[in-house]
């Protein structure tokens, strides 16, 4: 079995064939710049507008509230930096959590270096923020609450609706990083009280290099990327027409197939979790047992280290990821796993498996068998296990 079993859909996904097909005409035929006057350009503009409308519909938002970006990171940076700049006369305090993606956390640190103050809320052992703690953190000078919709590592879904209510009651704009949640769980920005929302195309079988920031009408933030008058003067740069078209298509499909797809993924995922926990000694599931993304499983295996585990899985044709971000330039163990209370050694031995609809039950069984074998092998090698 050397066929690929791709279980890293939270890192990125394969673009759907329909998505690529939708994009193709806009590379070399309908390539006009949407801001231009002539008819060729109008075709591009219409395509962009159609994608914007499809995405708005998916969120129960208005098309003019969707602003395309280069991805989730830019959307997060925009929401935070521009909110800070727009509301700094009112105050300089921002509330977020300890388990945000680095696109939020590092931007908060950047804002701290510019004189803003950030409260990083704790989470419980399942990765859920404490609403009471949130309420207590709110101050008269709080200008933004940014709490992710669902965590990218452990899959925990945050109580967004309650957060939205609290934010609204205090008149504070509420931003949520929904990069992992969008397309996986239904989102209604009005019902949930969300003022800004970040998403990224490549997480839901769309292309890489495209994302959006939803900005509720009335939220007065300015540009993050300054320049031309694109995106209602709020986001400069020639529109990534192909990316936008592909993103629109991907969202359409993700939304229309959501129920069936995620219930299938959930079934596979639950089987995987159940077998791993019962058959691999010293293993644990990270994240909320039920309030979690349908395709996410995240384990810790004591006494072993993540990268080695990933490399051995790769040799068996299995693609997964680990909280231990050695390769991505940082050697620290996952801040998320530390935040839910795991000690360093254990946090290092984590494995995230994120499914998609093309996985099968047979694959899950093969994966569990492989994990059992590899974990035993690595423990054999580990000075910690020997102790």
């Amino acid at each position: 079995m050397k066929q690929l079993i791709y279980l890293d859909n939270a890192a990125t996904t394969a673009a759907r064939p329909e998505v690529v097909e939708a994009m193709l005409p806009y590379f070399s035929e309908k390539y006009g710049n949407p801001s231009s006057v002539y008819s060729l350009a109008q075709e591009s503009k219409e395509a962009v507008d159609a994608a914007r409308a499809a995405i708005a519909e998916a969120l129960h938002a208005k098309p003019e509230e969707i602003y395309f970006t280069a991805g989730g990171s830019e959307a997060d940076n925009w929401a935070l930096v521009a909110s800070a700049e727009a509301y700094e006369k009112k105050g300089r305090h921002i509330i977020t959590t300890k388990i945000e993606h680095h696109a939020v956390l590092h931007t908060c640190q950047y804002l701290e270096s510019r004189g803003f103050e950030v409260t990083y809320l704790d989470v419980d052992e399942n990765g859920v923020v404490d609403l009471e703690e949130l309420k207590q953190a709110i101050r008269p000078d709080t200008i933004l609450i940014s709490i992710m919709f669902a965590n990218n590592e452990i899959g925990t879904i945050e109580p967004v609706e309650e957060i939205g209510k609290i934010a609204k009651a205090h008149g504070i704009p509420f931003h949520t990083d929904a990069v992992q949640a969008f397309g996986q769980v239904p989102i209604d920005v009005d019902a949930l009280g969300i003022d800004m929302l970040s998403a990224s195309g490549h997480k839901l079988n769309g292309p890489k290099g495209i994302g959006f920031l939803y900005i509720r009408r009335g939220i007065k933030i300015k540009s993050f990327i300054h320049g031309g008058a694109q995106e209602r003067k709020r986001r400069a740069g020639t529109e990534n027409v192909t990316g936008i078209v592909g993103f629109g298509k991907a969202v359409e499909i993700a939304v229309s197939t959501m129920e069936e797809r995620t219930s299938y993924e959930r079934r596979l995922r639950d089987h995987l979790i159940q077998r791993v926990l019962s058959e691999v000694p010293h293993s644990r599931l990270n994240g909320h047992p039920s309030d979690r993304l349908p395709a996410n499983a995240n384990f810790c295996f004591r006494f072993i280290e993540g990268e080695s585990l990933l490399m051995m899985l790769d040799m068996k044709g299995i693609c997964g990821s680990s909280g231990s971000a050695c390769t991505s330039g940082s050697l620290d163990p996952s801040h998320v796993l530390l935040a839910i209370g795991l000690p360093h050694e254990i946090a290092h031995g984590s494995l995230r498996l994120t499914l998609n609809e093309s996985n099968t039950m047979e694959e899950m069984d093969y994966v569990v068998d492989s994990i059992k074998e590899i974990v035993a092998q690595l423990r054999e090698m580990s000075p910690l296990y020997a102790d």
């Binding site: 006494f303 280290e305 080695s308 490399m311 330039g329 050697l331 620290d332 290092h348 054999e380 090698m381």
Partner: protein
């Protein structure tokens, strides 16, 4: 990311295991990335490293450098073993990615630690051997040279 040699040593680590009643045992860790390496040396009366084993909790590079480093010290004299630097181990592995250079330090330091243990146990002084650091990350810089 890794060279073929690294992958080979990762997949088929040489000298993995323990030596009972070893002449010297050294354990070092990198607090930053949390990895730990332990080296067991069996040194004969002529100061020749007769056997060597390792156990490693660490990334692929850490495993591969453990394996290669043990291969390189096996059969060598203590003085020869002391001269084996992390650079030499990396070269023998056809290089490591920049973020992984520090992992090779673990192997060098673990050998030094095992030799230090051997020297202490036997009440001798090994010329040129300094007391090993417990955390090899201490001296290291975050590499960020734009």
């Amino acid at each position: 990311m890794y060279s073929e040699k690294v992958m080979d040593h990762f997949q088929h680590p040489r000298n993995m295991g323990e030596i009972e009643n070893a002449s010297g045992v050294g354990t070092v860790g990198n607090a930053k990335c949390g990895d730990i390496m332990r080296i067991f040396l069996d040194i004969d009366d002529n100061g020749i490293i007769r056997d060597v084993k390792f156990k490693t909790f660490g990334c692929g590079a850490a495993v591969a450098t453990s394996s290669m480093a043990t291969e390189m010290v096996k059969g060598k004299s203590i003085q020869e073993a002391l001269k084996i630097t992390n650079k030499a181990v990396m070269e023998a592995l056809d290089g490591l990615p920049p973020v992984k250079v520090h992992c090779s330090l673990l192997a060098e330091e673990a050998i030094h630690a095992a030799l230090w243990d051997y020297a202490e146990k036997n009440g001798i002084v090994i010329e040129g051997l300094k007391k090993p650091k417990n955390d090899i990350h201490e001296g290291e810089d975050e590499e960020e040279d734009y």
